[in-house]
């Protein structure tokens, strides 16, 4: 068969590319089998599992407490909210009250996590778009400050292991609140700078607006959560809906987009970060004294009563839930994580088909995934 015979056939028109697992902008070892027609995507199949370490099995073989440091490694950009989600689910399972001060501390570190996640997100999206790292570096400069706060509080920058059942592991070191306030107060200025750098930029607008719009009904049915869901115009923030922790004590607004395209997903993070600054100020102002952990809660040799619980929180990436079954023993019978990163990818193929290959990276970027959580 000569080469000319295939001209005009399907194989000749399309080009199969395996994007990843080693690729500069798949955010880790993520792989997509893409079929291209020219530059246009006609088929896209995500392939998972390159970072799979069966976190759930590890947790089921260890004690309840020992699962806590492993949750840091799920979404390693924001470990503290992972801690929180697990602690929250266990507290639900065993009916543990959380110490008042600890609730405030959780909100403070949780919202700081949201700030640094969204800051990093802005940088990563620009990186995916091919900007040569300036936005990323500005974002990381800001994230670094928050990581420094985490380090002085928990001893580690990323693998914080901060929450405990019924409270938090350690109290604030002296001077921490002032340092945190300084960071929080500066953060809106950083967002302003980012917006000056980015949001008016014609190239960026052209590349984000109108790309991969997602309607509200489809987003709900596809299990999208977090900023992706709200960008599609759905008013659903678990902090408001469930009011877990003490979120119903704070005044904040939940933004939502109109079109649900990449630009809305992008801008929603900026707006959310501004709202988080407000929550942080309220929480820091209202921080009460008292113990940081419920003295009745046992950490070592913890045996919750038999039963099951599904606890979820609004992590920066979306709805992070833990489904736990206890048989009354000292280790979980079933330990299931509901990973927002993975489930937000459900509609990836739908979003990408018909777009250009360069858009695939942006769509993936604006969904905001972390492979530690996708593959677990």
């Amino acid at each position: 068969m000569s080469a000319l015979d295939s001209v005009g056939s399907d194989e000749a028109r399309t080009l199969d590319i395996s994007l990843g697992p080693q690729h500069p902008s798949t955010h880790g070892v993520f792989r997509m089998n893409v079929t291209l027609e020219g530059e246009t995507v006609v088929k896209l199949k995500p392939v998972f599992g390159y970072l799979h370490r069966n976190h759930e099995k590890i947790a089921e073989k260890n004690s309840w407490l020992a699962a806590m440091p492993y949750t840091d490694r799920l979404d390693y950009i924001c470990p503290i909210t992972n801690n929180w989600a697990y602690a929250f689910a266990v507290e639900k399972l065993a009916g543990i009250e959380v110490a008042e001060r600890a609730e405030y501390l959780r909100v403070i570190v949780g919202e700081l996590t949201r700030l640094q996640n969204h800051a990093a997100f802005l940088g990563f999206v620009l990186g995916d778009m091919g900007a040569w790292g300036s936005a990323l570096m500005y974002a990381f400069r800001e994230r670094e400050k928050i990581l420094d706060l985490f380090e002085s509080l928990t001893g580690a920058r990323m693998m914080c292991n901060y929450m405990r059942f019924g409270g938090c592991r350690c109290d604030l070191p002296p001077g921490w609140i002032e340092a945190a306030l300084k960071v929080v107060d500066y953060f809106p200025a950083f967002l302003d700078e980012m917006e000056a750098l980015l949001t008016g930029n014609e190239i960026l607008l052209a590349r984000l607006q109108g790309v991969a719009p997602l309607g509200a009904a489809r987003a709900i049915n596809g299990g999208m959560s977090g900023p992706v869901l709200r960008a599609s115009g759905v008013d659903y923030d678990i902090r408001k809906v469930d009011g877990y922790g003490i979120y119903n004590r704070f005044k904040f607004r939940v933004p939502r987009g109109e079109v649900g395209d990449c630009y809305d997903r992008f801008m929603l993070r900026v707006i959310e970060a501004r709202e988080s600054v407000g929550i942080l100020k309220q929480a820091i102002a209202g921080l009460p004294g008292g113990p940081i952990v419920n003295p009745k809660a046992k950490q070592r040799g913890f045996r919750p009563p038999a039963g099951e619980a599904y606890g979820r929180i609004e992590s920066p990436k979306g709805e992070l839930g833990f489904y736990l079954i206890s048989d009354g023993s000292d280790r979980p019978y079933r330990f299931r994580i509901r990973p927002p990163s993975l489930i937000n990818l459900t509609l990836l193929e739908e979003l990408c088909i018909g777009t250009k290959i360069a858009d695939v990276m942006i769509i993936l970027g604006t969904v905001d995934i972390v492979l530690g959580e996708v593959d677990r």
């Binding site: 407490l65 020992a66 580690a156 070191p173 750098l197 930029n201 607008l205 070592r300």
Partner: protein, 209 residues
């Protein structure tokens, strides 16, 4: 009517401001020139666990009693302990082997939290790279044991608390021992007194003598 290209221009202004600013404002540059400049670690900073000993001799001052709680609780199971035995084969409250594989350790600090003897603590040394993948990252007792003075130097607040707790325990124990001794003494005295009362005849000859 907006001027096309103004957004790009605004962006260029931001980068220019950062370019110039990085030469004049020192705090813009967050990079540490690592081998020359070293980070000041916060007091809480943690890297890998070590064992604390009191006094000057690691072997005798070792706080660890080889209870193996940390070995059991360690999430990635990187701690390995063998209890020491004396010549007669009787268990001694001291580890013969205490290994931590820091290639596996994930610095979670759970061993520190569960240790009832304040014996395992987190170090903050971070320059631990080695050429050999296995043996040099498997820390044995000799590498793990560090003095309480060192502990005080890296985590002053925490060490002071620990020392206070140990001191309080010691005082309580001493007080208890003293009380016990006093009680025993008292009991003995009473017993003696009773004995005296019970046997006055026995004493009389002495008294008469």
């Amino acid at each position: 009517m907006n001027i096309p290209g103004s957004g790009i221009f605004k962006g260029l202004v931001v980068t220019a401001r950062n370019f110039v600013g990085s030469y004049f404002e020192k705090d813009r540059l967050t990079t540490e020139q690592y081998p020359e400049e070293r980070p000041t670690l916060p007091e809480n900073a943690r890297s890998f666990p070590f064992l604390v000993y009191d006094g000057t001799d690691p072997e005798t001052g070792m706080r660890c009693v080889s209870c193996k709680i940390c070995e059991k609780e360690c999430p990635p199971q990187c701690i390995f302990i063998v209890q020491d035995r004396d010549a007669a084969g009787k268990a001694i409250k001291r580890p013969k082997v205490f290994n931590i594989d820091i290639a596996v350790c994930m610095s979670c600090q759970i061993c520190v939290e569960v240790c009832p003897f304040e014996s395992i603590r987190m170090d903050n040394a971070y320059e631990l790279s080695a050429y050999d993948r296995f043996s040099s990252l498997l820390l044995d007792k000799s590498k793990l044991l560090k003095s309480n003075t060192y502990y005080r130097s890296i985590h002053p607040t925490e060490a002071a608390e620990t020392d206070g707790r140990i001191e309080a325990d010691r005082l309580k124990k001493e007080a208890a021992a003293a009380a016990k001794a006093a009680a025993a003494q008292k009991a003995a005295a009473e017993k003696a007194a009773k004995a005296v009362e019970a046997a006055p005849e026995l004493q009389k000859p002495e008294a008469s003598a």
